[in-house]
């Protein structure tokens, strides 16, 4: 059963309560500090450990990745697809390294699992695309962070 709260006459008188409410609104409007910023002119400073767009770290132009498959193993979203291969200067390397970024949940577990310090999440967060993008190896090899 719904119990109606008891109200006195002033509370039942509509106008008083409306004016009180407007008072709160005006106070917030005029005196409260603003929480928004003028993006993209203004930008927030994020932590160095922010987990944004992926990249594969390279040392002297050679990718650190040896296609050990630990990142697809640990990935909870199953968004990493690697095919391993062999080439003269590297016993095992990823022929294909794809991240289905739409599935990625940016948990950073791949970064944590990587024994070769290869896969990294940069601080770039502007990743919107007009197509359903899968990040290919060439795209991931752009060094876009200093982790």
């Amino acid at each position: 059963m719904l119990v109606k709260p008891k109200k006195n006459f002033l509370q039942r008188f509509y106008l008083v309560e409306v004016i009180k409410g407007l008072g709160i609104t005006m106070r917030n409007l005029l005196f409260a500090p603003s929480v928004t910023i003028q993006y993209p002119e203004e930008r927030r400073k994020y932590s160095e450990r922010f987990r944004g767009m992926h990249y594969i770290k390279a040392t002297n132009g050679v990718e650190n990745c040896t296609a050990c498959m630990l990142c697809p193993t640990v990935c909870p979203a199953e968004c990493i697809h690697i095919e391993a291969g062999e080439r003269p200067d590297k016993e095992k390397y990823p022929v294909k390294f794809e991240i289905d970024v739409l599935r990625c949940c940016f948990c950073g577990m791949c970064e944590e699992a990587c024994p070769k310090d290869a896969i990294k999440l940069s601080t770039i967060y502007e990743m919107s695309q007009t197509t359903r993008q899968v990040y290919e190896k060439d795209f991931l090899l752009e060094q876009r962070g200093n982790k």
Binding site: T66, A67, C68, M69, L70, T73, A84, E86, E91, K92
Partner: protein, 467 residues
């Protein structure tokens, strides 16, 4: 039965059993590298050291037969210390390349290092390295990872019957290699990769294809010959990546020949017909209609591949009299092998001369071996699982049911794609009369169907315009 006490637990054993086996009975794991139940005992890795009461020093469990009243400790202070020291010693020259190594995930060295070893290495000197020679088409060697357990050497001399792996030089510079660096000759070379407790010997065929922890295993039987070796199919996402032997002391012990191990390749092959064909790709209705058209009103013979299961053959025995009249049935499989008497051992280890698994089972069902078509035969219904060698058929209309390569099915009036040994359940009978079960590991690819489904549709549908 005599009893001994391992870690405070009383274990019964049969005299002659060594401590590793006895401990395994009660679920106590004693780590080992050089010991293998199918090979002689050398006790040189020292990993299985255990403490035995009234013995002054630690003993290697693999070379110590259990004795009545023996009191063994496998996790005492002294043993743990010894295991740690052994692990450190074995890992001195072992490279830290598990991310690259194919063995990672099923590697004894990796597992025991995690369980019994130390997480840190004190070794700061340069590790020794080797240049590896090619070892033929099956095995890829990486000597840097070797821990000199000599299992491969013993396998060669004791099982494969060929002394092709040897240890040259001594001590730190020991190298396990083939005699004069020749490629491996044995037909059982795949077992070297299974035996190796590290990633020194790995399969070239499986190299970098898949990490082992992604693979799903299905226990099944090899269809390579009439022995019917027990094996495990490793599959992921409907693709077979490799086959490994499965222990069965009465059939194949721990081994599998290369022919059987790599027999699965045709299952995933590009050229396999997985769409119904009738002079070009058609749908199932049209293919069935073409098949019935091709056989109706003609004198038909039915050739049954001896790679089919008992269940499938039984189905055909019921199907043929009802739908194809008086057509005689013959089995075919290996050229020159027509009856069980022809099926002899092909070598001294496992292989049999009949290169199909169910020759003996089909004989049991009363099928006769194929020699020549009865005179006047106009059409042939060819049913096979994928392994049986097709006989030469000339001047007859042929309808194929089962697994065919595109080039084999050239000229067939119709092909109804069927399931290979990895895609069906069933019973096969090996040369000793032992009934064993095939298990379905993957789904039939494309539009392929099981033989039971094909025959059911054939029997129950009008299937076209011919009648």
């Amino acid at each position: 039965m005599p009893k001994c006490i391992i870690d405070g637990r009383e274990v019964e054993f049969t005299p002659g059993q060594n401590l590793v086996e006895v401990a395994k009975k009660v679920g106590i794991q004693i780590p080992f590298f050089c010991y293998h139940p199918g090979l002689t005992v050398v006790a040189q890795c020292r990993m299985c050291a255990v403490e035995i009461e009234k013995m002054p020093k630690l003993q290697t469990a693999c070379s110590t037969p259990a004795a009545d009243g023996m009191v063994v400790k496998t996790r005492s202070e002294k043993v743990i210390q010894a295991q740690k020291a052994t692990m450190e010693f074995l890992l001195i020259n072992h490279p830290l390349d598990c991310p690259v190594c194919d063995k990672a995930g099923e590697c004894d060295l990796q597992d025991f290092s995690f369980k019994y070893g130390d997480a840190y290495s004190r070794y700061t000197e340069e590790k020794r390295t080797y240049l590896d020679l090619d070892m033929g088409p099956v095995i890829k060697k990486n000597m840097n990872r070797c821990i000199h357990c000599t299992r491969c050497i013993r396998f060669g001399t004791e099982v494969a019957g060929i002394h092709e792996m040897v240890a040259v030089r001594r001590g730190n510079s020991t190298e396990i290699t083939t005699v004069d660096g020749r490629p491996l000759e044995t037909d059982y070379a795949g077992n070297y990769a299974d035996l190796c407790p590290t990633g020194s010997l790995t399969l070239k065929d499986f190299r970098f294809k898949k990490r082992v922890w992604f693979l799903k295993r299905t226990s099944t039987i090899c269809e390579g010959c009439a022995r019917g070796c027990n094996m495990t199919i490793h599959q992921d996402n409907n693709v077979i990546y490799r086959c490994t032997p499965r222990e069965n002391m009465e059939v194949n012990k721990y081994w599998l020949c290369d022919e059987g191990r790599f027999n699965f390749r045709y299952v995933n092959e590009e050229s396999r017909v997985t769409v119904p064909m009738a002079r070009g790709e058609v749908d199932w209705d049209a293919a069935l209609a073409a098949a019935r058209n091709a056989l109706s009103g003609k004198k038909v013979a039915v050739l049954v591949g001896s790679d089919l299961t008992q269940e499938e053959a039984q189905l055909l025995l019921q199907f043929v009299p009802r739908h194809l009249g008086e057509a005689p049935l013959y089995h075919f499989g290996t050229p020159g092998i027509r009856s069980p008497q022809d099926d002899m051992p092909a070598d001294r280890i496992l292989k049999r001369k009949s290169k199909t698994a169910n020759l003996h089972g089909l004989e049991k069902l009363g099928l006769k071996g194929f020699e020549a078509l009865p005179s006047g035969t106009q059409a042939v219904l060819l049913v096979r699982g994928g392994r049986a060698r097709l006989p030469e058929l000339k001047g007859v209309v042929t309808v194929g049911v089962g697994v065919f390569r595109a080039d084999e099915a050239q000229g067939f009036a119709a092909v109804l794609p069927g399931a290979s040994f990895a895609e069906k359940d069933g019973t096969i009978v090996n040369f000793e009369g032992r009934e064993q079960h095939l298990r379905r590991a993957i789904n039939p690819p494309g539009q392929s169907k099981l033989l039971s489904e094909i025959l059911m549709v054939w029997a129950n549908s009008k299937g076209g315009t011919h009648v």
